[in-house]
């Protein structure tokens, strides 16, 4: 099963809705509109030839320069039987970061989506328990968004000169 056959099967089913076809380091990568993420993943799961039944990673990336679609949710899928990996991206707006949750399809997405919510603020619609997982519960901001300075500017107990402030 080569990247061409995967691309062909996907475009047969979804047509022009899938864009951004790339192959960085030989790994097929494509983008879909955010409403279709569950449908695309379900198709990749159920198809008898493309058996992408292992979700390796679910993460987000914040692109501050792409206005209107700043947060990208990235799914890494793996076909364990034929040893093929692909990457699937979904973009969403920062002001309304709602993405459908894939926990119904992949159980491992449960904790991974909680982590993505904790650090980027992506709201996964349909997640059974979307609360913070790695940070303290009282935190009211999303640390991995690229809008904060690296160090806390309000610190008074560290010597500014020695710490480059």
């Amino acid at each position: 099963m080569t990247n061409e056959t995967i691309k062909q099967k996907l475009t047969e089913k979804f047509g022009d809705q899938l864009t951004g076809w790339q192959e960085p380091y030989g790994m097929l990568t494509f983008t879909a509109p955010k409403d279709l993420n569950l449908k695309v993943l379900q198709f990749l799961f159920d198809d008898t030839e493309l058996r992408f039944q292992f979700l390796t990673d679910l993460q987000a990336v914040h692109y501050p320069d792409r206005k209107g679609e700043e947060l990208a949710v990235v799914y890494h899928l793996h076909n364990l039987i034929d040893n093929v990996r692909i990457r699937f991206k979904v973009f969403t707006d920062m002001n309304k970061p709602d993405v459908f949750s894939v926990t119904a399809l992949y159980q491992s997405a449960n904790v991974m989506e909680r982590e993505t919510y904790d650090f980027f603020g992506v709201n996964f619609v349909g997640h059974p328990n979307l609360i913070r997982i790695l940070n303290v519960d009282e935190m009211d901001y999303f640390p991995m968004r690229k809008q904060y300075p690296v160090e806390d500017q309000l610190r008074i107990d560290k010597d500014d000169e020695m710490f480059g402030r």
């Binding site: 790695l134 940070n135 303290v136 935190m139 640390p143 160090e151 806390d152 610190r155 107990d157 560290k158």
Partner: protein
Amino acid sequence: MSRPVQFNNHVKFEGIPEGYMGEGFMATNFEKVVSLARKNSIWPLPFATSCCGIEFMATAASHYDLARFGAERMSFSPRQCDLILVMGTIAKKMGPILRQVYLQMAEPRWVMAVGACASSGGIFDTYSVLQGIDQVIPVDVYVPGCPPRPEAILDGFMKIQDLVNAEGLRRRHSDQYKELLAGYGIQ
């Protein structure tokens, strides 16, 4: 045929306190005796979180041997230990847990912050790392280093021993100590 002992034959003996000796009795200062006993039998609780924990493992192993200072029994229960050795990075989420472990310790208790991360947050000046465990519990000895060498950890342990020796019996009931704990929100 037994060989004569070649190594470790300069064993240091801990002297007995001065006092009045007689036939079958000795009269001395109670504090001195109790301090002597306490300082040579400190049972530590290794609260090892990261890399400094590995250095602690090396300290407790046979080459650097922490046991020769009396720390033979590492108790992993706070209820039965004297000294908590906090070794490693403590995240803000771990802070309340560390505080809970400290509250479960019985008096007299000492705290040693091993390594840069436990003393001040170390190189991790971020949103998730507690900048020093003295934000949540009172600390007696700080051992700097990233990680500190086993010799440095032993030096810190010996400083704890000096503190135990000099402390006296009434410190834990004094007002100053109560004020110190109140500063941390501990009754």
